[in-house]
């Protein structure tokens, strides 16, 4: 892999995320958890009832993905990110509990960006629509909660050099905004 990648291993610490800036390319290693629309709704409902989350949220990374079914011989099917704004209503609550990273595509709300600054959490982007390629970095997959949700169940993934880019860092910067400013052509 290119030298300009930063390698990180989960669970993430404050020191890990403090050194990340927008545009940094990162290779993630270790365990990440999947969750998208329906799983986020259930997790927040569980918190409302005073119950535990299906995994330890401290230092964790949630990947917004609903993978395709695995072909025989593959640990998982195609597994690229889904659009993140739909998780915006739920994310700040999880960030406040110690979530350190999220992986998705597209922009986030100001509330999420503010929570990322306040509690030191990073929003990573993965390449949307590159699900076959990204699946190659996933070595193991296991459903750990909400199996009835099918593709939306919560999975524990073991990843090796999973490629992401920092879109929102803990300093309030936003790659979508900055990238656009840099390449905008005004007539």
């Amino acid at each position: 892999m290119a030298e300009d990648y930063i390698k990180l291993t989960t669970p993430l610490t404050d020191e890990d995320v403090e050194k990340l800036k927008i545009g940094d390319r990162v290779l993630l290693n270790g365990v990440i958890y999947t969750g998208r629309d329906a799983a986020h709704k259930r997790m927040v409902e569980a918190l409302d009832r005073g119950e535990d989350l299906p995994f330890d949220i401290k230092g964790a990374i949630i990947y917004f993905v609903g993978p395709a079914p695995a072909k025989p011989g593959w640990p998982i099917g195609s597994a690229g990110p889904t659009t993140s704004y739909r998780m915006d209503p739920y994310s700040p609550r999880l960030i406040a509990l110690g979530l350190k990273g999220m992986i998705g595509k597209g922009g986030r709300s100001q509330e999420v960006i503010d929570a990322c600054v306040k509690y030191k959490c990073v929003y990573f982007g993965a390449i949307g629509g590159a699900g076959a390629l990204l699946a190659k970095s996933i070595k193991k997959s296991e459903v750990i909660a909400y199996e009835d949700l099918g593709p939306e169940a919560v999975r524990r993934l073991e990843v090796e050099d999973f490629p992401v880019i920092v879109v929102n860092d803990i300093y309030g910067n936003d790659l979508e905004k900055e990238g656009r400013k840099q390449y905008e052509v005004k007539d």
């Binding site: 545009g23 395709a68 195609s78 659009t83 597209g106 922009g107 979508e176």
Partner: protein, 279 residues
């Protein structure tokens, strides 16, 4: 009259669902290669390289290009001299979708709108029927992902807004969509007819091969102008900054009501999948 057994339709649709999800159309693949040459941002170029590599992996290993294998949007062009035998045509289409998504290891993405319970077999597909001269059946499948569909809109513009109003609306819609629809995107624009007809035209515009402008010179010029304006916004691949946000704008137009100017924008992601067969 030519008889066509509906079991042939099931078989054809099953295969199309799989092939559409594994094999990115050549025109899209080539357009991505062209984009790679044009893109100025290093991050953008790396995104495009990975998207191209992804398409290669999907093709070689016969796995889904994207985990969102879409709602199956099916265009049925039925020759008026065809007689279907052997069962219910609609059920035969549904069965093709069921089998294709199950046997092809494709993700099932249809759910109840409120409980969000997954239907489990990716039915119902969206079927558009058209009766045409002849005795053939042409079936086109375009699996459509949720991310780019969510960024699509129908806007009932005022007649006074005119062509300029349409162009402004399309550019604004892209600007507001950012990275959400997995750029580089293809933008389908449908103007005319009624509310739902404009949306249909925009969807159909997405099926037109890339590199083929609208034969009407005025519309072709509008396509080019919108494409340039969208790319000048600087959003780039995945919205992370760059010079290629859209690969093409396809504009289709029909007459509309004297009181209206319906304008639909249907955005498609770079996983612009479609496959067809003629029986």
């Amino acid at each position: 009259m030519r008889e066509v057994n509906v079991s042939e339709v099931t078989e054809a649709i099953k295969k199309l669902c799989m092939d559409a999800n594994y094999y990115l159309p050549e025109d899209v693949y080539n357009a991505l290669q062209e984009a790679l040459k044009k893109e100025k941002s290093p991050v953008g170029r790396s995104v495009l390289e990975q998207i191209i590599r992804n398409a290669d992996i999907a093709r070689e290993e016969r796995v889904a290009i994207c985990q969102d294998c879409g709602l199956a949007v099916i265009f049925m062009e039925i020759g008026q001299d065809v007689k279907f035998v052997g069962g219910d045509l609609k059920e035969a289409i549904f069965e093709g979708v069921r089998q294709g998504y199950k046997e092809g290891y494709l993700r099932k993405s249809t759910c109840h709108p409120f409980t969000r319970a997954n239907v489990g077999d990716n039915t119902p597909p969206v079927i558009h029927y058209d009766i045409v001269p002849g005795d053939k059946v042409r079936i086109v499948i375009a699996p459509k992902g949720g991310g780019s569909e969510n960024m699509s809109r129908v806007m009932m513009l005022k007649p006074a807004d005119g062509l300029e109003g349409v162009k402004d609306y399309v550019v604004q819609r892209c600007s507001e969509s950012g990275g959400n629809p997995c750029p580089p995107v293809i933008v389908g624009v449908g103007v005319g007819g009624t509310f739902e007809r404009s949306a249909f035209l925009a969807k159909k515009a997405l099926l037109r091969p890339l590199g083929r402008p609208n034969p009407d010179l005025e519309l072709a010029a509008a396509e080019q102008e919108m494409l340039e304006r969208i790319n000048k916004l600087g959003m780039g691949p995945m919205g992370w900054g760059g010079t290629v946000y859209a690969l093409a704008v396809h504009f289709e137009m029909e007459p509309c009501h004297i009181a209206s100017l319906p304008c639909a924008v249907n955005i498609n992601c770079h996983a612009a999948r479609h496959k067809e067969v003629t029986i």
